[in-house]
Symmetry: C2
Subunit: 114 residues, 2 copies
Amino acid sequence: MSEAGFARLPSPPYYAVVFSSLRNGEDPEGYAAAAGRMLELARAQPGFLGMESARDADGFGITVSYWESEAAIRAWRDHAEHTEVRRHGRRHWYAHYELRVARVERASGFVPAP
Amino acid sequence: MSEAGFARLPSPPYYAVVFSSLRNGEDPEGYAAAAGRMLELARAQPGFLGMESARDADGFGITVSYWESEAAIRAWRDHAEHTEVRRHGRRHWYAHYELRVARVERASGFVPAP
């Protein structure tokens, strides 16, 4: 993944939704299409700041989405198409997931000197 | 990854350190040994609650460690061996990293019915 893997975020405070999941390995095409569509939809939501995601070859993944406010997170949770995709995912794609909503209080980063 | 990939956490509130990184691809053995040693050390720290980690085949990864308090996070940051490994990592292992410290306010999870 290129530098595009990193979200470009404002200074804290902001909010993070940490979504850890274990895929069941079924329907990789349907899952990939839905993941792309959800990123496209999320980007269009008010208060969306960015998203980062990584998944091991064995199906365990972490996606963190960043938001301006808890109200923006609730609005995204209640988005009709997102709600339907989550329902589908519980039936078809996940062996287990955990979701944590957090308030980011400080941040720092590092890129090596050239 | 088995269910061992998920941290078993208490009810919120607690704290999360979200570490997103892009590996430079160098020294995979040294990096893997240090990652294992850091997990072993972190587990022995007061206030450590758990850790989850995933990395794409192309080197972008997210590791989230969970802690009882900000004081526990500061103590881990200041741990001498951890400090030395971070310094080594900036010189040898990472093309870029971002770190965010957040207070987890709510959590939920899902496992399919059998």
